[in-house]
Symmetry: C2
Subunit: 270 residues, 2 copies
């Protein structure tokens, strides 16, 4: 920020030019599975606007009145839930393609908050028109449902992690999950380096630990040559050991990696 034009503004220009093409290209996103048919056209029509956020700003806060549904186009978000006394739990991290702002009908206000971890851009889809679209295009409805269920699976895995794993395992599992989701791949080279825009405080809020303990466990993982987290980048030093410690569910890999076939298609088409 500062230098006249914020990063979010720059990104906005790029995103507007590409006119949601990025989102459409995401095999894991809402538009991804729709093809170029009528449904996709109408979904583009329904898009009310784009929103551009700088890192650290909120999409909405816990307790805000219900918002529109948004589709994350670029950047990472966090969703969290606060207790009365200020304790905060991170529910999940969101990456491009994610649906943002949905929750069960009948709740007057948002039960969680969503904040941008990086600069981010989102499609705004008025909740009403999205419901109408689901009604008219069952394939869109099924896709939407699938994405909600996939998020739900993620939350369940996280719940199992907090309930059953110790601190080191939880941290390893979280970082590997994010590595897999952000790359769409489950296998990594030794020494591979990825963007991972987290702070230790966020990892603590996601794993139910104190930031101090997260720091110690990260040191242990570094000293054991498993991984390194530095300046918002993750280096995977020993993929096998990391996978063994994290012990992720098969489901996570199946739901968040791009199918081999579509990778081949992309290569073929490109």
């Amino acid at each position: 920020m500062a230098e006249g034009v914020s990063m979010a503004e720059v990104e906005s220009i790029l995103a507007l030019k590409s006119n949601c093409a990025y989102c459409a290209a995401r095999p894991l996103g809402l538009c991804g599975a729709l093809g170029d048919g009528e449904a996709f056209g109408e979904l583009r029509e329904a898009r009310r606007a784009m929103r551009f956020l700088d890192a650290g700003t909120h999409v909405y806060r816990q307790g805000d009145p219900r918002t529109d549904i948004l589709n994350l186009v670029s950047g990472w978000l966090v969703q969290y839930q606060d207790l009365e006394d200020g304790r905060r739990q991170v529910l999940r991290f969101l990456m491009p393609g994610a649906i943002v702002g949905h929750q069960a009908a009948g709740l007057p206000s948002m039960t969680h908050g969503t904040e941008a971890l990086t600069n981010a851009s989102l499609c705004v889809l008025p909740a009403g028109s999205l419901t109408e679209l689901r009604r008219r295009h069952p394939s869109l409805g099924e896709r939407y449902l699938w994405m909600i269920e996939r998020d739900s699976q993620l939350t369940a895995d996280q719940l199992t992690s907090l309930g059953q794993r110790d601190a080191r395992e939880r941290i390893a599992a979280l970082l590997l999950e994010l590595a897999i989701r952000s790359t769409g791949r489950a296998h990594f080279e030794a020494g591979e380096n990825l963007a991972m825009p987290l702070t230790q405080v966020l990892i603590a809020e996601a794993t139910g630990l104190t930031p101090i303990h997260v720091n110690r466990m990260l040191r242990k993982l570094r000293e054991a040559n498993v991984l390194e987290l530095h300046e918002r980048r993750l280096t995977i030093l020993d993929p096998e050991r990391l996978a063994a410690i994290a012990d992720l569910s098969e489901a996570l890999i199946m739901l968040w990696t791009r199918p081999e076939s579509s990778q081949a298609e992309l290569r073929g088409a490109g």
Copy 2:
């Protein structure tokens, strides 16, 4: 069991006679919001069969091939997720009206297991015909989505509980949640006594604690005259203190209690 006819069989006779009326009457269930229209008729048509389970038996196990979708008519179920090494996390408890067996498409096998805590009866709805029904009756589709989202909210609340609350708070929150969901009310008389078919081991698996520690915390809550759990029944000794310790989210109450208005209507009509 043993004496010729199992409890499940007895229940089966009752359930068949009532022909799913129980489920239809549940304001919180799948059929509940459909009224008597065409969609409800077709849903009844789609019902392939009923399943009757004795307490302690499985609806399906983790790793089983994908099953049909089921609608819980009577009894309580638990859903759990196991880690490789045998550690088990209880994801949620299910009560009449709940949808059972759904998970994101694309997964070949069940990522969790479901077991009967009491004798239970379920409607079997073939997954394919339910998808078809959602397609033809958007109101059913919306209802289905709402139920998935409501479950998801429950999982998120539980995640926050495990991440942020201490042992005593987690146990209080779980028991109060179940009391609210099983009665459809958020307010209790001092000394009120409810069915609560849990073991201390199950509470431990749900809260991420050891059974031994659960036992100690239950003793503390009993000694503090907050609640008593005995022979599968919960006595709420001090509703205010329990609510203060549990500190449940507003959302839970709004999603799982019958709306006041309808209760008022009932009183007015009665």
